[in-house]
Point group: C2
DNA sequence: GTCTATAGCAGGATAGAC
DNA sequence: GTCTATCCTGCTATAGAC
């Protein structure tokens, strides 16, 4: 039993450290030596547990990324369920809040989006899984959810562009912290995150013409 | 003279091939051997012309990325100048068109945004130059440009969030082609790019509430 | 300025003891 | 399952001929 748990812990540690490093620096910039050093285990452990480096990368997506994405989606759905009636504003707010504040820790959220961005920039095997099983279905579902609220009949693609526009903002404010901080001068504290959620909701609902939502100095 | 031009051509070739490879796969995934092979020159050429690999990467930003960004900004400004009176719609349309269609070839545009995304994800020395000299000033300028059109007095940061929301869409539709194609099923042809420009303008101006702009099936 | 040859080292992966 | 020791490949960078 102690054996088993120690095994799990060791494999788990490698996964976690690998994810942090892959997210921050990308697959090629990270070495197996670094990962095992960070996980306080032996160099051979990666090959023993995962076969090779590439497969460790894939396992990061299978075992950590995907469950986490599901937690975010679950939060989104719980927020919707809590609303007595479904409104456009309610839907968009749930998306923004789930993704920008949501169930993830700050570090988790950053890592999560960095990994996703890397896959979007240069798809590997993980891309197909991520888009096919999580991102794609979520976006299609969201599209159908907002469809009844649209002013006029709208094609599937046009609807998806609207969804992607909301998502692109969410991704941007999560992943592109460096330029956001650099340009706005703000820090990612709770106050700022609240302002971001508010901003995304307001901008998504009525764009620049409704501009009056942000109460950030 | 033939000497000089040949030199320039050789150095130039390395720069161009390096950019394509760095954009597509990132700094660490690309080897000097690959670059020189692609540029049809010798392995030692990179070190001769650029000192080392890292500096070649920086030169890509200094010599190719920055001038290209300026071409896009110039196009944006020319489009504004051509309008008889400055409107919010005119400004946003100029941004969307300059970035999504603009003066760049399709490959150039993809490379350009991939490099930028990589720097945002993991800043190197190039980040400071890119944000400090190009992206930052452009966004601040754009913010001041839209300020008079805002319904109420708006803080500097709130204004920048609006600008970044527009930019985030533009970036997304340029750089995240893989998921966009995968999810919408569209190809990046001229018709689709026109639809994207239209969509970005409409969404930026009035968000979901004004939804009626996209005429994509 | 361009090439070949090679130094010098770091990487992933594995064999085999424990 | 974990460790040490090691193989071997492939990398950056440079020396030196042309």
């Amino acid at each position: 039993m102690a054996e088993t748990s120690k095994v799990k812990i060791s494999k788990e540690r490698i996964l976690r450290e690998a994810e942090a490093l892959f997210a921050e620096r990308g697959f090629y910039a990270v070495t197996v030596r670094e990962i095992t050093r960070a996980a306080h285990c032996n160099l051979a452990a990666v090959n023993y547990h995962f076969g090779n480096k590439q497969n460790l990368y894939l396992e990061v997506f299978r075992c950590l990324w995907k469950p986490r994405a599901k937690r975010v989606v679950a939060r989104f759905e719980r927020m919707l369920a809590a609303q007595r009636e479904l409104t456009l504003q309610g839907i968009v707010h749930a998306v923004a809040e789930a993704f920008i504040k949501g169930p993830l820790s700050d570090d988790e959220r950053l890592r999560h989006h960095q990994l996703m961005i890397r896959e979007m920039a240069r798809p590997t095997e993980a891309f197909e899984m991520v888009v096919g099983e999580v991102i794609g279905p979520f976006q299609r579902k969201l599209a159908e959810m907002i469809r009844p609220f649209m002013a006029r009949e709208m094609g599937r693609v046009a609807l998806l562009l609207h969804v992607q526009s909301i998502i692109s903002m969410v991704i941007h404010f999560n992943f592109a912290r460096n330029p956001v901080i650099r340009i706005t001068g703000m820090e990612y504290d709770d106050v700022f995150k609240d302002a971001l959620v508010k901003h995304v909701v307001q901008f998504s609902l009525s764009g620049l013409n409704g501009a009056g939502g942000g109460d950030v100095p």
